[in-house]
């Protein structure tokens, strides 16, 4: 089932150098990597990014197959984007059938966009696969905390993320159960036209919302019972501290970014 293939947000336990980096370093690093994918102007640049990413994946010890599972969920998006680019890019036509035509530039752009999307997903999955969701949200909370002075609720955002991450598997399970229960009553989630299918989702969505509200009510009470009262006066068990590893990572990151910019300026394919 497609629901279970979502790798995004699933932590892959390990103790590699990547796992041990401070989540703030990883967050900034990931953002820079994602930005670098938009700075890249040519395939040589992508090759460089891909090699760097491959090295990181290797270090992290996350099996490549495991990472690739994350792609399944968005394969449709990638193919769709590629097709749009393939057919919609104007330029020298090399194939034509009725209104459909493919230009040389279209092929180039389609490949370009597909590679960019795949790398975007790999890059961000590497972050979520090597960082405990809690550490990730903690890192975000801390990176954003200077902004709380201008009214950004960084603690609340981080708490929302934590809870969302905690309950994604629960809600997926719940969805699976409800789907099975309704299928046992003859519901059909797989055939019919778009309108029928959308209507067919009601027996799934209503119970799912009811469940989500029940979880929310229960959880709110449980959190109150455990003395939760927002971010003020709260301490954290896992303090964060930059280590030598983070310094090394920061230097490598700067070198990487410089290299990407340099490669972009060279007249390469």
């Amino acid at each position: 089932m497609a629901l279970k293939d979502i790798t995004l947000g699933q932590y892959y336990p390990g103790d590699s150098a990547i796992h041990r980096l401070d989540p703030r370093t990883k967050l900034i690093g990931t953002i820079l990597f994602l930005v670098s994918l938009f700075v890249v102007k040519n395939f040589t640049g992508f090759l460089f990014c891909a090699i760097c990413l491959a090295i990181l994946v290797k270090i992290s010890g996350v099996p490549f197959r495991y990472m690739a599972r994350g792609l399944k969920a968005v394969i449709f998006l990638i193919v769709f984007t590629a097709l749009i680019n393939l057919f919609m890019t104007p330029g020298t036509p090399i194939w034509q059938f009725g209104i459909l035509k493919i230009a040389r530039e279209g092929i180039y752009r389609a490949c370009f966009m597909a590679i960019r999307l795949v790398m975007l997903i790999f890059g961000s999955s590497l972050l979520t696969l090597t960082t405990k969701p809690v550490a990730l949200t903690d890192g975000m909370e801390r990176l954003l905390s200077p902004l709380s002075k201008i009214g950004l609720p960084s603690h609340e955002l981080a708490m929302m993320m934590t809870i969302a991450l905690r309950f994604i598997p629960t809600l997926l399970d719940e969805t699976d159960k409800i789907m099975k229960a309704q299928t046992a009553r003859g519901a059909d989630f797989e055939s019919g036209n778009l309108r029928e299918r959308a209507k067919g989702l009601i027996p799934l969505l209503v119970p799912l919302f009811v469940s989500a509200f029940r979880i929310a009510a229960d959880l709110a009470m449980a959190m109150e019972a455990r003395c939760y009262r927002g971010g003020d006066g709260r301490t954290r068990m896992n303090g964060m501290a930059f280590t030598k590893l983070d310094t090394v990572a920061a230097i490598l990151l700067i070198l990487y970014f410089a290299a990407v910019i340099a490669l972009g300026r060279l007249p390469l394919f």
């Binding site: 409800i178 099975k180 229960a181 009553r185 519901a187 009601i202 027996p203 119970p207 009811v210």
Partner: protein, 284 residues
């Protein structure tokens, strides 16, 4: 309706590193009109087995026949056979979604193409069967009912499809003792009145012994025992070795026997146990 399971195996994520065997070569037959209890630990494969019985899961190997029809085929006949195997999940009230109780119970028959009048007739009959007054509660939102009532309505939702086999996965989970008794009494009544074949998953050995003609014991994906309550519950050691137990009365009699009282340990209800103990004491 007779259910026949032949060499059924199910393997999760076959070929992947986290492959695990949920069912292994399970073969069993439940005769038409029989009341069978399925017992086993959490994770023994009970739920996986049940979901195969009405085609929700496809076996890795083996087949499930309902009156001789392979229910995993793509034919119309097989779909009809699947309808006749009604499956009530744990906490079935979580599947309710319609605006009114009546509409919710109609959902099943509607999916199988019955006319609105037929659906309503079936729904009303099903509600009466579970002890909910269709005139009083039929127009109420299912979300306004009490926990026990919700569960009954959910069971009615399955009964409205006119099943010939009714499978219930721990229908009393989370209920208080009264709710527990009421639901089981209801299942018994339905069994008698409608001559349905019943498969009941239970963790409660007393219930299993009291209600079922037949006990199926699952352990680690295999059918460990299959027989009448008398036969199955006489295997005291074997049941304990797989983390299960016998009914309370039998447990007590075993305890007495181990302390030297000469009693027959194969007694599975309270009143007979009282007689047996009296006989042993006065005999001694």
């Amino acid at each position: 309706m007779r259910i026949e399971v032949k060499d059924l195996s199910y393997i999760y994520s076959e070929g992947m590193p986290f492959e695990s065997v949920a069912l292994e070569d399970v073969s069993l037959t439940v005769e038409s009109g029989e009341f069978a209890a399925v017992i086993g630990h959490t994770g023994s494969g009970k739920s996986t087995l049940l979901m195969h019985l009405n085609g929700l899961m496809k076996p890795t190997r083996g087949q499930v026949l309902a009156d001789g029809v392979d229910i995993h085929e793509k034919t119309k006949e097989a779909r009809e056979a699947r309808r006749k195997v009604g499956l009530v999940f744990q906490y079935p009230e979580y599947q309710l979604f319609e605006e009114t109780v009546l509409k919710d119970v109609c959902f099943g028959p509607k999916n199988y193409g019955f006319t609105p009048e037929e659906c309503e007739a079936k729904a009303i009959e099903a509600l009466k069967l579970v002890g909910i007054d269709p005139d009083e509660k039929g127009g109420v939102s299912p979300f306004e009912l009490s926990g026990g009532e919700k569960r009954r309505v959910a069971i009615a939702g399955v009964l409205a499809m006119d099943p010939q086999v009714l499978i219930l996965d721990e229908p009393t989970a989370g209920l208080d003792p009264k709710g527990h008794r009421d639901i089981l009494d209801m299942v018994c009544r339905i069994h008698k009145e409608k001559h349905l074949t019943i498969l009941l998953v239970s963790h409660n050995m007393d219930d299993a012994a009291r209600l079922a003609d037949r006990i199926l014991v699952l352990d680690k994906g295999r059918l460990a025992m299959d027989g009448t309550p008398q036969e199955v519950f006489s295997h005291y050691e074997e049941l304990h070795s797989i983390g299960l137990s016998t009914p309370s009365s039998s447990e007590l009699l075993h305890l007495l026997k181990s302390k030297g009282l000469n009693v027959n340990t194969n007694i599975f209800n309270e009143d007979e146990a009282v007689e047996e103990i009296l006989k042993a004491i006065h005999g001694a």
